[in-house]
Subunit: 412 residues, 2 copies
């Protein structure tokens, strides 16, 4: 007898047939005696349809009205899923974000949840109903409809789980869990039974886009156990929790993340004086270009080289800006490379293990892969390499850190 | 400088282009200095699309969830129209029924408005905004979404006009006003500049389906001047108001309504004893069949004939029920005819004019049309005739009561 929040994304509720399948799944849990709160997204395609309507009127639709518009997508799903549950003999009641009530700030299209009134949900649960809540939406203090931004249904799920002190928040997706790395690249990649919030955040931000990163942070902050499962295949999925003390034999590295969406820019021969980093990066951020990795090495002859990465789509724009900046700084030249990839090893085990970086670099070196940039944090090490070596690097690291499925009894 | 409520139906907002056209029209009124509250329906086809989704799950969808589902239709329109207005430099803000707030009873799918909080609207109007409200919907005391039933957007418009004490409630439709009769039947039919609420109700209930009858009753009750206009063609439309005292030369008959959706059933040779009418009609109403006209004549030999009309779709069902009833009553036989039409003359002028019925019957007689049933009220006289004579009867009456366009200078 647990209280479980289950979140189903747009693909899982994309047709009437799939909504019926979700209802079957929800009912199965409820028949086992659990209290269930379901959070759903808009049917797949619906949000894009609504956005297209708005774009038919204006290129940058008014945010307040955009939220009124797109929030209808989830509202349709909650009604349909509630009907499907009731038809199957499972009492249910739907709630929009505003009805729950999920109060947010007023930042339309990217609002943040401030509070949740759990009274309605508690009453329905105690009366034996499944509660079906529209993801992605809320209302501000004045009653204006807000949305949490794309993918925000995960956040709704976690927030409800936190408010209700649920035993688990289950996120149903089209994959059956979190993998050691992308199975399309490494065929011995295996599903992890467990991963920590911190690891998941590093994996997600590095390109393993199973969960919206914000929802993982949120879950970690409120210690809501999060489980990633498949909507279509039964299985235990991957449980994301706090790191457990004394967890015997925590693997050093939990997974290998990678990203080929980035491009590298270097300013060569920059005067090595204070304030140079901000003078280089300010025009970039002023142009709304996000910077990921930044590396500056110790200089010589009062000069240094300054390198950073941006999204590949921003490469040309950033390079043009940088060329002007370099000139004004008296730098020697600007070099760019958009054929790079970032590969990262992630694992809380790194904290207590020395030599992880050495092992990573040795593995890459064995394959003859040159490392262009290195960046480290407490639980991850990232390197930038030439894009053509990406698969080779990931496969080598996956094997070097004993992640291959055939080496582990719990693998699938 | 007036306060005007404007209601646009589904056809008027059926595409992005039409929504833009509505925005242009609204802006034109506002630029003249008027305060405008706009009520919109769902884009045409949208409500049916949503209903089809629900029917894909269950034949008789749960009413509460049905309201959650279909209310999204109008919510989409308010967002899009507000965007279009803002784009055109006309400040605007959208409100769902729940946001206004329009409070209704809890009768899902056919709720009745109980109160309207005008504070938000007043504030927006005073700040120079056009207020855009979703028609057809509200919330009950507990915050559940309700809908007013199909066509309920007209009712929303009138209710808002009443709450705001608006100078006029304009209902934009695909016709340019109320006509003396259907122009497809009588090519000399002309648009009425004015008609009273009572006349409009009789015209509407008799088949001139320009306005939802409930909204006309509502407008009459709160004395909200109602104007029917075309969304697509500019013009003064028809103003529906209270009957004015001393209105010189009120025409005797304002219009000719007709209806070919009915069928006639007669029980011949019923014992002429008290309680017979209810014994005949109760099984009919128990079967959810609505009865329109009822005629029972003075009997002879302790027997009488009992005739009534039902919707043509209910004819076979009603006849089967009646056959059983007739047997149990010892009646002689049941006769039915589904090739009939009802023709009515409507006009408040009848109250002060004698001989209107005589003139009507004479007109029909001149055309050799036999009258099968007659029913009268204070401002209308209805007759049932063979369907094949419908056009002939309507044209003759239109001419007999001086309604033809060429006889009247104000005609279009």
């Amino acid at each position: 007898m647990a209280l479980i929040v289950q979140k189903f994304g747009g693909t899982s509720v994309g047709t009437i047939e799939r909504i019926e399948a979700v209802a079957d799944k929800v009912k199965r849990f409820r028949d086992e005696g659990h209290d269930i709160v379901v959070v759903v997204s808009a049917m797949s395609g619906e949000t894009n349809r609504l956005i297209a309507l708005a774009k038919g009127i204006m290129d940058e639709p008014v945010p307040r009205e955009m939220d009124v518009l797109v929030s209808t997508g989830e509202q349709v799903t909650i009604a349909l899923l509630s009907m499907a549950l009731i038809k199957k003999g499972c009492p249910a009641r739907s709630y929009t974000g505003g009805q729950v009530r999920i109060t947010t700030d007023t930042a339309h299209t990217k609002a943040r949840i401030q509070s949740i009134d759990e009274a309605n949900m508690r009453r329905d649960l105690s009366e034996g109903r499944v509660v079906v809540v529209a993801g992605f939406q809320g209302v501000d203090e004045a009653g204006n409809i807000t949305t949490l931004g794309r993918g925000g249904s995960d956040t709704t799920g976690v927030a409800l789980a936190a408010a209700l002190k649920a035993d688990e928040c289950q996120i149903y997706t089209d994959v059956d869990g979190v993998y050691t790395t992308d199975p399309r690249v490494v065929d011995t990649a295996r599903r992890l039974d467990r991963i920590t919030f911190e690891e998941m955040i590093e994996m997600a931000s590095l390109g393993s886009k199973v969960l919206q990163i914000r929802s993982v942070e949120f879950a970690g902050k409120y210690n809501v156990p999060l489980r990633v499962l498949s909507s279509f295949i039964d299985g235990p999925g991957t449980l994301i929790t706090l790191e457990e003390d004394g967890n015997m034999e925590q693997p050093v590295v939990s997974g290998i993340a990678f990203n080929r969406d980035e491009a590298k820019l270097t300013v060569i021969g920059v005067p090595d004086v204070p304030g140079i980093a901000s003078r280089i990066l300010k025009p970039i951020s002023d142009a709304n270009i996000e910077v990921d990795m930044i590396v500056q090495n110790v200089g010589a002859d009062n000069q240094t080289d300054f390198t950073f990465t941006v999204h590949r789509n921003d490469f040309n724009k950033a390079k043009a800006i940088l060329t002007e900046v370099a000139e004004s700084l008296g730098a020697r030249e600007v070099r760019g490379d958009n054929k790079i990839a970032k590969v990262s090893i992630v694992g809380v085990g790194m904290r207590s293990h020395a030599g992880v970086a050495t092992k990573m670099f040795a593995s890459l070196s064995e394959e003859g892969i040159n490392i262009q940039m290195i960046s480290t944090s407490e639980i991850k090490i990232s390197v930038v390499i030439a894009e053509k070596y990406l698969e080779l690097a990931v496969r080598g690291l996956h094997s070097a850190f004993d992640l291959d499925a055939d080496k582990n009894a719990t693998g699938v």
